[in-house]
Symmetry: C2
Subunit: 337 residues, 2 copies
DNA sequence: CTGAAAGCGCTAACAC
DNA sequence: GTGTTAGCGCTTTCAG
């Protein structure tokens, strides 16, 4: 059987309260007593029981992170940011891989409801606003990465989607492109929507009309990008560049181009988003937008923890927007006439 | 304040014991009573408090997984296997990313000691056997993936490293290679050692001498592989193929070859291990060994849970070895004279 | 089939 | 500085 706090108390000849004080550095304890207790703890190889602690203190110092797919490097980098920021504040992180199942995503919220975690961070979450608002209203702590909430109870951290999309358009326009297709991500994803918005607005600013026929849905994955690009090609409309809502879609575009005998970048320029490692290794290297993934997670976590520890200052910033950087590589680095 | 079990009991006019029985489907409860209780639960929006449950029942139905780096797809696939197998048995998985720090890896064992989890799965763990044996002796449940333990208390699941390495040698020999270099992984890693053993033994069986000068350490990452390949080239010894202990090392070899003006596969053949997605996308596509990552995690988890639930049958298999498959791609698909 | 009550291991008043 | 003690919310004998 495991040792308990009374065992330590008995061995060191003090009360359980004193042992608890030593354990948590709370209250005053004479140096001599502290030493005695520490020795007993060592000698008995005592470990505090987490469940009892949690039950008594009504907090766990654990933060849950729900992620669509742990195997996508974009997400795992964000997790690292969350994790390190949390550790710095003595919080533990519980990573929950929803394995691309929205149902599982919901299931994990249970951890919040049953108090296994003190707060939950949802990365690129697709749940309707109402669900999140209701949770927040009930006093549950939620934070959002890659999705914005105008609910002041829900801090969020996103990237400057609109701005960097304008940057992409600027770049492509400079390379001589006039008709640019957009392949979007998952239906309803705010990142994808913002990118599209930035794209369209920026086209307009340059007097380039946005042709709705040149927009397709690519579901944020390679297969979706492939199918979308095939549909675009099939339409027979002229276009010379593709802005893909993420790199996976871009990879699908590569595949479709290869099959259709279209050369990148000579016939079609491609720009993705995320700076997935593959974009550097593939031939031709893919232009992309590098988002501060790690910081996305770290900053949100800082915000969230601050709010948990100082509920008084519930005002202040709730949405943090981080800058991203366009990386031009071979796939779009070709000047047209 | 959250609702508690007494609130449900009061509202439904029964005792807390009965509510508990309904909640856990334990003991007999009249259908009518059950309905009443369920209604009350619904009405109050009651959620059982996990900490109280854990404290009382002395188990958490949670399994921890410690992984060097969550951002390495080889590991995240294993996690998925673990996760799904665990879910099927109503266990929850807590993913712990050690972020490449051995210290953090150790730190996470705390979750086991303080009973936050019922068991811990260590993926490709580098801790000394003594540490693991001691934990197991104290009654803690541990499982190993990608590392073997001869301790019957510690189930483990590995791949057939020796055998598939022989397969790699066979393939390279058939393509006409006589002098093959080996670049190993992290010092002390059993996977890497087994691969080297299979490599050497297989060379011997074919009457090909193993030249110790053609072995270098590549630390399982691209930078390590790059440096190792540079050292190999610098030696000026003849060799026509490289067997890299994993794909990352292989990528480093690619880079070194590019710089040295060596063509793959004409001058140097390369074979990696892991079937990292990049190997398919890089030019030339890299030959590699596909390991059953998902199953590696899933099978071990099954073993582990079975032992937790039926401690009586502590005998039976403790080590499971899974088959892998050599995938020949362009990087080694070139017949030499 | 249901209820009463003990207690899981810990912390935090409160008293001294 | 230190000890006593009342719970945190739940499950589980043991009675009935």
């Amino acid at each position: 059987m495991d040792k308990k706090i009374v065992d330590v108390a008995r061995l060191s000849g003090v009360s359980t309260a004193t042992v608890s004080r030593v354990l948590n550095n709370s209250g005053l304890v004479a140096e001599k007593t502290r030493t005695k207790v520490l020795q007993a703890i060592e000698q008995l190889n005592y470990y505090p029981n987490a469940a009892a602690k949690h039950l008594r203190s009504q907090r766990t110092r654990a933060i849950g992170v729900v992620v669509q797919d742990i195997n996508i490097s974009f997400f795992s980098e964000i997790i690292k940011g969350i994790q390190n920021a949390a550790f710095a504040e003595q919080y533990r992180v519980i990573v929950c891989d929803a394995d691309n199942s929205p149902a599982k995503e919901l299931e994990y919220l249970d951890l919040l409801l049953n108090r296994t975690v003190d707060a939950m961070i949802l990365v690129s979450c697709a749940l309707p606003d109402e669900v999140l608002d209701e949770l927040a209203a009930k006093g549950h702590r939620i934070g959002l990465v890659c999705r914005q909430s105008r609910n002041p109870l829900i801090p969020s951290c996103i990237t400057n989607n609109v701005e960097f999309s304008a940057e992409v358009v600027r770049h492509l326009a400079e390379m001589g492109h006039r008709r640019i297709a957009y392949i979007s991500g998952t239906e309803g994803n705010t990142d994808s929507q913002d990118r599209m918005e930035g794209f369209i607005r920026s086209l307009a600013e340059r007097g380039l009309a946005f042709d709705p026929l040149l927009a397709e849905n690519g579901r944020f994955n390679e297969a979706g990008g492939y199918a979308a690009m095939k549909r675009l090609i099939a339409k027979g409309l002229p276009f010379t560049a593709v802005y893909a809502a993420n790199d996976e879609i871009g990879l699908g575009v590569y595949k479709a181009c290869r099959e259709a005998g279209l050369r990148i970048p000579e016939d079609i320029a491609v720009v993705g988003v995320d700076n997935n490692r593959i974009t550097e290794y593939i031939e031709p290297a893919m232009s992309t937008v590098s988002q501060p993934k790690y910081r996305l997670g770290a900053e949100l976590t800082g915000l969230l923890i601050r709010r948990m520890e100082h509920p008084s200052e519930e005002d202040g910033v709730t949405v943090r927007v981080l800058e991203s950087e366009l990386i031009v590589r071979k796939s779009s680095n070709y000047q047209r006439d």
